[in-house]
């Protein structure tokens, strides 16, 4: 492509054809004011504020929509331009209400800023009062369309970035405005309160509703959202030591200027009154405040005592997928090098250990094989066992953009009908737990119809023949019978998959939390290899639940691997770390999370250190976990909030939130991003990294790191795939991944499509039906995330707006089932399984097929987990937490009065 040269304010500059004048000006450091332009949105040239003059003919051009052409002589500041700009701005202000002066958008209002820049006073115009506030009851967003300048940014952000389609223009001419369907309040529309339109609106027309969250921040710090595994970049606005808002980051390669409701409105748990702010030690069953020295000394003394009397394996350590890589790295060093045990695990085991195992034995690389950018460019996207709109919104945005704007075709395998189904080419509503036969069946059709990627299969993989033979029994008829999906739909899906140039497969907890999770992941990997989509082109996208789930495992917070998945049994591997830390490391695999609990219950494990986790809320069968923790001689817990584990602890150490510390998180793609300290730690709380180092010191084994950055330097040295990919200086947000994508040896990506071990390996997997429901437990209950809450709810339930908007749990039930049982919305019901029972209220919902129930798991008042047994996936040792058999009973007013439902 030949570059075009133009003259810009007297200087020659050049750019490629198609570049707009505005883009070139920005590249060249020339400022042009804009209102309706945003780099992430398609330009529409609505506001005309960006006009410039072509001096050859005096033409005034909207620079955001005019491409450069040879010979242009552009002046961005000619007297005519300035005069016109002023006129346009004055007209906008003329129809702008007086409330401008007291508007809470304050200095964030672009309109006001530009007016000041151009020397236009706010009061010199007679205003047409036209306040137009819409009655909304949601706690997040308020709209006053009298302040709207019709730049259309909110509409474009809603349709082009988050692709919710909640708002568009309504009416025409003078009465045109941005409205929801039927002009209803946002809470009655498709709006998900992602907050992106609030962030992008240049005026006060769309704003935070709550006055407590408006105002002008004095500092802004870019960090990473602490909730889901997407890892969206967020800007934290700080005023008087408090976070007053978060904003999406337009440059983030993950989120491209978007967030979800949790990222936008779920951060104020940081300032919750319930935060632990002093170390506590238990004296005769009651907590007493202590100094850090006292608390740490007590903890050290007891760990030493237990180690001496019972040996190191009487101790166990729990890491956290919510803490930073640096903290997790230090924690496993503490467990192995200081305590001397491999009894270390993290709760990620509950969510995606099946991925580690399943992908490990097939593609040989235990994680997502592509970046979100690859995903958005795929021709076919297969979503299975995941509801990314809820569990990983930024991924859902990318999928919807791929469908809407890149012509991708979406295949969904899910018993439920979710809003994402509207985007699907084909939706296979399989029965719960039948993913393996379905995937095997799809593979069989692709092989039989010779639509496999033969070249890839022969050159890059082995064990194909064995595997292909194992598929014999998965005939279309058999698959139709087991999955309940019509033969012809399976056929259509198989053809789409087989014929596409590149396919991405996205899966989530719906797969990994099943009892046969590992088998299903293997079946997914087989299908990806068969179509040539592992390690090149599309890829496998394993969604992760927590912000740093990958990181915690990468850092070796697992009982069988040192950092970087180096087996602990291997002498060489151990020597590498022994040399670095100057200490002998234990050689035997440690206990997994559930085994630790079992061992504690039996009195074999006597002392435990839990970092930032409440296993009572995140494990199945909370009663057993409580029993386990109670049986311990000594328990140390670090956390921000008092959960059950904290209450059972001997020593409680208050930890900081993500906004009060430095470090890195690794998102589901494997992208390592900087977390930055925005405010000073609350009360006496300390970052977990400091706590671990101080505890080590108290035990007589100092770890000499001066900062989390220094820890990262060691991680880079010891973990090959963290080499050169971590964000070097805090301002780069981990963006380097774009540069290393795919093609750099030694990074975590596949090098030029090569599998890490040379070959991918097909693995036969067979279908084991889920345990049949029996004894009248005639419904299948599935659980998962909720849009407005997260995890155990420890954070989201303490974020005031999320809590106000979604205060209570509910059970979703199909209309036909509800009718049969006579349930209406909000009826109180009791859910009973073999393991336990809980109460909640009903919500009739047509997303579910008959016989299936759904309930989110982030409501501590109705702990769904009490219903689940501990059926363990044999390969990954993950407890099955996704579905179980239950029956329902109505709670009548009488029952409630008796308090005995």
């Amino acid at each position: 492509m030949e570059a075009i040269t133009i003259v810009l304010n007297g200087v020659e500059v050049s750019g490629y054809p198609g570049t707009t004048i505005l883009e070139l000006a920005r590249e060249s450091g020339v400022y042009i004011p804009t209102l309706c332009n945003d780099p992430n949105l398609v330009s529409i040239g609505a506001c005309r504020l960006c006009i410039v003059e072509d001096e050859r003919n005096g033409a005034l051009l909207a620079s955001c929509v005019t491409p450069i052409s040879p010979g242009m002589i552009i002046n961005t500041n000619s007297p005519r331009v300035l005069e016109h700009r002023k006129k346009i701005l004055k007209l906008m202000l003329a129809s702008h209400p007086d409330s401008c002066l007291v508007c809470d958008k304050g200095n964030r209002c672009q309109l006001r800023k530009l007016a000041a820049e151009m020397g236009i006073g706010l009061v010199e115009f007679q205003r047409i009062p036209q306040s137009d506030t819409i009655e909304e009851v949601n706690p997040f967003i308020e709209r006053d369309l009298s302040k709207c300048i019709m730049c259309g940014k909110c509409i474009r952000a809603d349709q082009e970035l988050v692709v919710e389609g909640a708002i568009d223009y309504i009416h025409r001419g003078a009465s045109v405005k941005a409205a929801t369907l039927n002009d209803l309040p946002l809470e009655k529309s498709e709006c998900t309160f992602c907050g992106v339109c609030v962030a992008i609106c240049p005026t006060g027309a769309i704003m935070e509703k709550d006055r407590a969250y408006t105002g002008t921040a004095t500092t802004m710090v870019t960090s990473v959202c602490p909730y889901c595994g997407c890892g969206c970049a967020i800007t934290l606005g700080v005023k008087d030591g408090k976070i007053i808002y978060t904003r999406p980051v337009p440059e983030s390669p993950v989120s491209r200027g978007t967030l979800c409701v949790r990222g936008s409105y779920g951060y104020d748990f940081i300032h919750s009154k319930e935060r632990l702010n002093k170390p506590l030690v238990k004296v005769n069953g009651d907590f007493q405040e202590a100094t850090w020295e006292e608390a740490l000394a007590l903890a050290a003394e007891n760990f030493k005592r237990i180690k001496e009397i019972y040996g190191p394996d009487a101790l166990a350590v729990f890491g956290s997928p919510k803490c930073t890589n640096e903290e997790n790295y230090l924690l496993q060093r503490f467990a192995r090098g200081v305590l001397g045990t491999n009894n270390i695990d993290n709760s990620n085991r509950l969510y995606c250990a099946a991925s580690l195992t399943g992908l490990g034995v097939t593609v040989g690389y235990a994680g997502t094989t592509g970046s979100i950018n690859y995903l958005e460019r795929s021709q076919i996207i297969l979503v299975i066992g995941a509801n990314p709109e809820i569990s990983a919104p930024a991924v859902a945005y990318a999928i919807k953009r791929a469908v809407k704007f890149n012509g991708a075709k979406l295949i969904i395998i899910d018993p439920r009908y979710t809003p994402l189904s509207n985007f699907a080419q084909i939706h296979l509503r399989s029965s719960v737990g039948t993913d393996v036969p379905l995937l095997n069946g799809l593979a069989r059709i692709i092989i039989n119809e010779k639509k496999l990627d033969e070249e890839f299969v022969t050159r890059m993989t082995d064990n194909f023949n064995n595997w292909s033979k194992s598929l014999e029994k998965y005939t279309a008829v058999y698959v139709e019978k087991t999955t309940g999906i019509p033969k012809k739909d399976i056929q259509t899906a198989a053809r789409l998959l087989g014929e596409a140039e590149n396919t991405s497969i996205v899966y989530g907890n719906g797969i990994t939390q099943q009892a046969n999770g590992t088998e299903t992941v293997i079946a997914i990997a087989n299908l990806a290899m068969l179509t040539g989509n592992a390690g090149r082109r599309g890829g496998i996208f394993a969604l992760q639940r927590h912000n740093n789930a990958r990181g915690a495992c990468d850092m070796g917070v697992v009982p069988n691997f040192l950092p970087g998945y180096l087996g602990v049994n291997d002498t060489q591997n151990r020597q590498k770390f022994e040399g670095r830390w100057n200490v002998k490391l234990p050689a035997d695999n440690g206990l997994t999370a559930l085994e630790m609990m079992e061992a504690a219950r039996k009195g074999k494990v006597k002392g435990m250190f839990i970092m930032g986790e409440n296993p009572v809320a995140s494990f199945p069968q909370p009663k057993l976990i409580k029993e386990a923790l109670t049986s311990l001689e000594f328990l140390v817990v670090t956390d921000m909030f008092p959960g059950e584990a904290v209450r059972l602890a001997s020593v409680v150490l208050p930890a900081t939130s993500f906004a009060e510390k430095e470090g890195t998180f690794t998102n589901f793609e494997g992208r390592i991003q900087s977390v930055r300290k925005a405010i000073i730690p609350f009360g006496d709380s300390r970052p977990d990294s400091e706590i671990i180092m101080q505890l080590s010191l108290a035990m007589g084994s100092p770890m000499l790191y001066s900062s989390p950055h220094q820890v990262m330097e060691e991680i880079e040295e010891m973990v090959p795939f963290y080499h050169k990919v971590s964000p070097k200086d805090a301002d780069t947000m981990g963006l380097e991944m774009g540069e290393v994508d795919g093609d750099t040896p030694g990074t975590r990506r596949f090098y030029k499509g090569l599998f890490p071990s040379g070959f991918g390996r097909f693995q036969p997997v067979d279908f084991t039906p889920l345990q049949e429901s029996k004894n009248g437990y005639n419904f299948t209950l599935i659980t998962g995330s909720s849009r407005y809450h997260f995890g155990t709810g420890a954070w989201s339930q303490r974020s005031s707006r999320l809590r106000r908007f979604s205060p209570e749990s509910f059970l979703e039930i199909n209309p036909a089932d509800a009718k049969e049982l006579g349930f209406k919305d909000e009826d109180k019901i009791q859910i009973i399984s073999e393991q336990g029972e809980i109460s909640t209220s009903a919500k009739v919902s047509n997303v579910l097929p008959k016989g299936l129930l759904y309930m989110a798991d982030s409501f501590p008042q109705s702990p769904v987990r009490e219903l689940f047994g501990t059926v363990i996936d044999p390969r990954s040792k993950t407890p099955a937490l996704k579905s179980c058999a239950v029956r329902l009973e109505r709670i009548t007013a009488d029952d409630q009065a008796k308090g005995n439902p």
């Binding site: 568009d168 309504i170 809407k404």
Partner: protein, 161 residues
């Protein structure tokens, strides 16, 4: 917005058939909307989502299209459409009073429909016969030089619903 005591029954099945016949056709939206309006007399808001997903648009986008075209309606309209001109010429010659009188006779406001579905009242900007101002149009018949008497002559017999 028209407030009706009872929305006339619409045949959703029939509308679904129209939607199906034009599913995934790229430029199918406007013809589809026109066909629905022809059948049902208006575009029932409850069909907007199915129309939208059939052509790969959001419901809010389809609403944007419907409300942009003055010939598409999201509420049922009466058998007779009355349009009172509020162009400049008509305005200065008493168009406002004419509108008020018509409202009184029909018992409805602008953009409303009588409960018996007889009349829908709308206003228009200049219909191009300013010489006869003030004007009003009933269906396609222009009534010029309006005055209270003439208004009564046209609507006087209407007893309301």
């Amino acid at each position: 917005m028209t407030k009706l005591k009872e929305t006339p029954k619409i045949n959703l099945k029939e509308i679904d058939k129209i939607v199906e016949s034009r599913r995934n056709k790229k430029w199918g939206l406007i013809p589809m909307l026109q066909e629905i309006q022809e059948r049902a007399g208006y575009i029932p808001p409850e069909v907007i989502p199915r129309v939208a997903y059939a052509v790969g648009l959001f419901p809010s986008q389809v609403q944007a299209v419907i409300t942009f075209y003055s010939q598409l309606y999201t509420h049922p309209r009466g058998k007779n459409i009355v349009r009172v001109c509020r162009g400049t010429a008509c305005h200065v010659r008493g168009g406002k009073t004419i509108l008020k009188l018509v409202k009184q006779h029909l018992g409805i406001e602008e953009d409303e429909t009588t409960d018996d579905m007889e009349y829908t009242l709308e206003t228009v900007a200049c219909i191009g016969v300013c010489a006869l101002a003030p004007n009003l149009v009933v269906n396609n018949n222009i009534h010029g030089n309006m005055n209270p008497k003439k208004v009564a002559a046209i609507f006087g017999n209407y007893k309301g619903s």
